[in-house]
């Protein structure tokens, strides 16, 4: 199936006021998302994840490179995109409380995107009712203000507002990181349910790796504005081949005292400044595998099969030291064993 979104060689530079230098926020990012699928975009703060999301939604314009939505070029600001694409790409923000107007009843907030589509009042009412049902909120909540809802409920409103235009792609920028564990689990399950029903594609931006592992079909790992590795989520998590992915994944702490993702690969030192990026591979100064070649030239994408792309000259050496074990799956089995106990079930 042809992808719903194609990003080709995307660059974004931000000028620094009072100076001729620029922040190189995105440095040649390429990926695509298939209809109804989720791409998880992971990386540390400052890696450029959010900037990629904002370029796709059109809140900012990329400096260079192409963004195509179902084949149509959309690499410009949203105000200059074709009118028929309004509402086709939506955004859900990180902080639910801050992304809702505190003085607007939530029914009005959810309805707002339809005003841009000039939908008649009767249709708007109908679709608000439908959207609120998708996200599991009650109809009597439509008259409430955001402050009267819990954080999880506020995020449901944010999702309803994004979904009401029936988008084909939703950019979710850290939608669960401000939430409690139970609310987070509910929101993730809700997003997956909506995707199954409506066939919406997601770009799921997060630094919460175990959530990404769970929700994503494919995953892309960002470092200093580059995707250093991407591929099938289960495969990348079980067999990361870029030293940075290995280091990032090993820092995940699973809630089980005996399961850790520890590895022999450790990254030293500090992240280089995005103002003066080094020549060659951006990780070379911190990477235990680095050889002279890594410092001289940027490694191109290499396909390890099945669309598993890695930008590393030394990925075979990485493969040799890193164990190929899916600790996440092992954890799931353990969770089933420990938490599955249902003895003495309550008398109804």
């Amino acid at each position: 199936m042809s992808p719903v979104l194609q990003v080709e060689g995307l660059y974004k530079q931000f000028p620094i006021a009072g100076s001729h230098s620029v922040v190189q926020a995105i440095n040649g990012v390429s990926f695509s998302i298939a209809p109804g699928q989720t791409l998880g975009l992971v990386g540390e703060s400052g890696s450029g994840k959010t900037t990629v999301g904002r370029c796709i939604v059109g809140l900012i314009e990329a400096s260079q490179g192409g963004i195509r939505f179902k084949g149509e070029d959309i690499s410009v600001h949203r105000a200059r995109r074709p009118r028929h694409l309004i509402g086709k790409i939506q955004l859900v923000f990180q902080e639910p409380a801050e992304s809702l107007d505190p003085r607007m009843r939530i029914g009005r907030s959810i309805e707002e995107p339809l005003l841009a589509l000039k939908a008649p009042a009767a249709e708007r009412r109908e679709r608000v009712a439908e959207a609120i049902e998708w996200v599991g909120l009650r109809r009597d909540m439509l008259d409430l203000y955001p402050a009267e809802l819990s954080a999880g409920q506020q995020q449901r409103v944010g999702i309803a507002r994004a979904m009401i235009t029936r988008p084909e792609l939703v950019v979710l920028d850290e939608p669960t990181s401000a939430l409690d564990p139970t609310a987070r689990a509910e929101i993730i399950e809700l997003l997956m349910k909506i995707q199954a029903e409506l066939g919406t594609a997601y770009l799921f931006i997060s630094h919460d790796l175990s959530t990404v592992r769970f929700i994503s079909h494919r995953v892309a790992v960002m470092y200093l504005g580059m995707i250093v590795e991407q591929g099938n989520a289960a495969e990348v998590f079980a067999k990361p081949r870029h030293p940075y992915s290995v280091g990032l994944l090993s820092s995940v702490l699973l809630p089980h005292p005996h399961l850790s993702l520890e590895t022999s690969v450790s990254l030293k030192g500090e992240i280089p400044s995005p103002i003066n990026l080094p020549k060659g591979c951006f990780l070379a100064s911190r990477c235990p595998f680095a050889v002279d070649r890594c410092r001289a030239e940027m490694p191109p994408a290499e396909d390890l099969g099945g669309g598993h792309l890695v930008h590393c000259f030394r990925h075979r050496e990485v493969a040799r030291v890193d164990r190929a074990a899916d600790t996440f799956e092992e954890f799931q089995r353990e969770a089933e064993r420990i938490l599955g106990a249902r003895d003495g079930a309550p008398v109804a």
């Binding site: 409690d180 995940v252 990254l267 089933e336 106990a341 003895d343």
Partner: protein
Amino acid sequence: MLTVTHSFEAERPRPAAVALGIERLRVEFPTVAGAPKVAVRDLDLSIRPGEILSLVGESGAGKTTLARSILNLPPSPGRVAAGSVRFGGVDLLQLAERELQRIRGRDLSMVVPNPRGELNPLLPVGDQIATIARVHLGKDKKTARAMALDMLRAVQIPDPERRMKAYPHELSGGMAQRVVIAMALVCSPKFIISDDATSGLDVTVQAQILDLLRRLAIERHSAMLFITRDVGITAHFCDRVAVIYDGEIMEIAPRESFFLAPRHPYTVMLLAAFSHNPRLRRGWTVSEAQRRTVDAAVGCAYADRCPRAQAVCRRVKPPLGELAPGHFARCHFPVERS
């Protein structure tokens, strides 16, 4: 991977087997309706010297209120209504403000999230650390600066001499958090409270900071109350785990026993939420429609959300019973483990 050893325990004399003892602590917030809202309900908790106790719970459970009440600084307009906090032979809640000020930051210190909010934006961070050593330990300017520099080294800030002169805005979030930890540890406190101190950090930085906190706690023989929402950290970091719900400890157990054989239905539900297993999580969750309100003063505070709740749970508050050595749960119908 992160195991804590207490080989140093035998080497130094211990005045007490408890570093900090909280007894029957009750913190209330006034409400317009009249009856105050109980944020911390008659809570007992004791932490041993050198021990790291992790306190997990969701927002609104009373974690921060508890932490701040230990320092007798309950969040306004809350007030400590009853109870005691024994520390170093005295009850902190009975001390005069002047005496408390001497203890806070010196013997008992707290690390909070949002490091930039804690630092004075107009002063170099080195001065801010040194000031604490001067005020609390009476050190002269030169010694205090040397101590501050040592602390910056201890928290592994690269190029510490230069960073002494840095202003908070010149530091990254991870660096600023390290400075705040350095401030909390410069007087080698006997007790450290970490309130969600690593939540805003990236995973790689978080791992470094946790490692650091634990190492410093062991080296300096400090006990720690480590408050977090993330049970992933807890599973690898502490000696014991306590779960707080609606101002009450629901379960408290040694780390391994807590994660491998959880007993309280709330704990199991929390762990299921982290396991990304929707079927398991739903199995331990009561749908909103089935929820019935309970009076937490009378019955179990969790009864309204508990799939195991029966009539007795709403009538009689279960005690925090010992179900296995050192493993306590507040539940009439705890999960059986063989």
